[in-house]
Assembly symmetry: C2
Homo-oligomer: 401 residues x 2
């Protein structure tokens, strides 16, 4: 949004004064993630949010995405902003060095993800979905699949999606119908239609890697018969090179209030070539590995909106003049005082500020616990962190969203 | 909205069982407003809402209003729906018989105003503003002005607006700048720009009558120097015939979320001919006459939205199948049960229903009090009603909106 300022100061306060991230990172072996480095990363992320993403938020919303014959064009400036994001090395910040990432902690890339979303929610949806895609392939994909897909995803040359929902099943995934037929070469042929696929099709990256829930022919009914597949828009060689077009097509884009510049797609798989990830019929279990990070990710979008709303309201309250202060003129040269002088306006602004800052602290606390579950070596501590997340994280998701 | 059903049964319950409107109307001399007549009027209003307004709600929102060179075109079907409304005699339902109205109680036309708004909020804004315009001219206009304007407004051939806000003053009307210069013929020449004028320009009626707040040349500063004027789009003879175009023009239309089919206008007065209503410098006092009905009118829009949202949610909850009921299959032939079987979905639906029905009762109670203030003959009862409104009405406005 116009005039957005990334909340660097509050993020440093929450992480380094309130929650002692410095010791936390040291303990988990992230020696390089010093307070100075974190502060420098925050400064760069703030610049990117404020100078690159915020200026194309309103124009992007007005222009929206365009769908023509299966191709989606993002609004003016979106592609260029994505290239700047890739050039800055942001996509792979918390991913392994062996695939070109920077191997920094999960919490660090997540704190700044709020700012990208606050500056431009629509834009932030595109790289946001890649994170889940990469994590899925890293956790459950074979060595070959990791080799085929991860490097280009980590560099940001390719983006990813998560294809779960079908028209007749959103929450009740046990009913899903998308089929995966085994082929002689060990791959699968996927057929079916998915809806509400964020970043399902766009012009910002050269390939799109879909993580797809589907059923094998002999699968049991319900949630115990769902498997997980990776299905690229363009086929990929074993060496990870982009090849011919796969049978994946975008049927249309949805109209979603507030994120018109984000392509939420209907994706048709028409005998598309895919690869099994994880064990057959255990797809939902594999997906649940990411329940904590997915919840925090959703919560961060709500936090981002509340921070952006507070900033917009604060600017307006300082600029708009209307009536005089109860305690005497505060803007004697003008015909009225800025409305921030009025007690009830201040009350509303402080409520917004308290929500944004309180929820940022809660999110940072949950992220810290996730770090422990991901990188910790003490099994008891990991279990404790997981138990705490089971309590705090649904709250984090629902309050912030 | 698609599939909207006017809440006739609940309105009859609230007015005739809970609040005893039959005795109330009798007591105020509205002998003809029997339970049967009210019920018949409700049935006709329901048909109009459901069959005429609801079907053009979504299409109207998609198409929106178009502004070209000062002319505003409303979406397909809006003009025809307005003609049906006029043919049905709805505009003058609660206005005096001497101007062609039906002289029915205020509360009766207000209860059904909720339904028009629930079926099609955008459309309901056009005739809605006429009510305030008519009431202002009736209460404060000279006999000549009443003769010039009221008949065509009451019949609905013309519509009206209320022009208060300017870019630099919304709540703090003391700062308003629109000027009115007295002319030799006793009229005034108005110059200035008003914003956020609902139904300020459109193609549904042959003339538009603006009620405008402006300052006389010798007016004191602040709210004690504001006068009220009537300024028609087309000039009007003393006999009430439409004449040449007045210097009133629509500069642009605003983008307002959720009411894209309602023309919210910037209106420029460029030496436009106007007529003073009420005493000089007492314009705000004249406007405050309608504070109670204006508050209820605003509250009804919120009530309409909550009823429409409940109906939409209820339809979806009965139609959408997802998961099985905790107490055993309710839709054994289907792959899942409708989501209305789930306790938390029922809780949410019942919360919506309680808000809509509770607030409808509160609104009907406030309208009953307004009836007493408008038509009562016992001065003590009128004062009591006014005192009760001072307590309940701000609540009615803020809870419902």
């Amino acid at each position: 949004m116009e005039g957005y300022k990334a909340p660097q100061r509050d993020a440093m306060f929450v992480t380094h004064e309130l929650l002692n991230y410095q010791d936390h990172y040291q303990k988990l072996g992230f020696d390089e993630a010093s307070e100075d480095l974190v502060s420098a990363i925050f400064a760069e992320a703030a610049k990117f949010s404020e100078n690159v993403l915020a200026p194309i938020n309103a124009s992007g919303d007005e222009e929206g995405c365009k769908w023509v014959d299966g191709e989606v064009t993002t609004p003016k400036g979106f592609k260029e902003a994505y290239q700047t994001y890739v050039d800055g090395g942001w996509p792979g910040m918390s991913h392994p060095e062996e695939f070109g990432g920077q191997a920094l902690p999960y919490s660090l890339s997540s704190i700044i993800a709020e700012w990208f979303s606050g500056a431009n929610h629509s834009w932030a949806m595109y790289p946001g979905l890649s994170q889940g895609c990469m994590a899925t392939i890293k956790a459950h994909g074979s060595e070959l699949l990791q080799q085929m897909f991860l490097e280009k995803l980590v560099s940001g040359e390719w983006t990813g999606t998560m294809c779960l929902t079908e028209a007749h099943c959103g929450s009740d995934l046990g009913m899903l119908k998308c089929r995966a037929e085994p082929q002689e070469d060990g791959t699968y042929s996927l057929t079916g239609t998915k809806i509400f696929i964020s970043a399902g099709e766009h012009d910002m990256s050269e390939n799109i890697v879909h993580i797809v829930l589907a059923r094998l022919p002999d699968a049991p009914e319900g949630t115990k018969g769902i498997s997980l597949f990776v299905v690229p828009k363009f086929n990929v060689s074993e060496e990870g090179e982009k090849q011919d077009r796969n049978a994946v097509a975008c049927g249309s884009i949805e109209h979603k209030m507030g994120i018109k510049a984000s392509a939420t797609c209907v994706i048709n798989f028409d005998g598309a070539k895919g690869y099994l990830i994880g064990p057959p019929n255990r797809g939902l279990n594999c997906m649940f590995t990411f329940m904590n990070t997915a919840r925090i990710g959703t919560g961060l979008e709500g936090l981002a909106s509340s921070e952006a709303a507070f900033q917009g309201a604060l600017r307006y309250a300082k600029d708009r003049i209307q009536f005089r202060s109860l305690t005497g003129r505060k803007n004697p040269e003008g015909p009225a005082d800025p409305i921030i002088v009025h007690p009830d306006v201040r009350r509303m602004l402080l409520t917004q500020k308290a929500f944004a800052e309180g929820n940022r602290a809660l999110a940072a606390y949950c992220m810290q616990l996730v770090d422990v579950t991901l990188y910790g070596s003490d099994e008891a501590e990991k279990q404790l962190a997981d138990a705490k997340l089971a309590f705090f994280n649904p709250y984090c998701k629902s309050v912030l969203n």
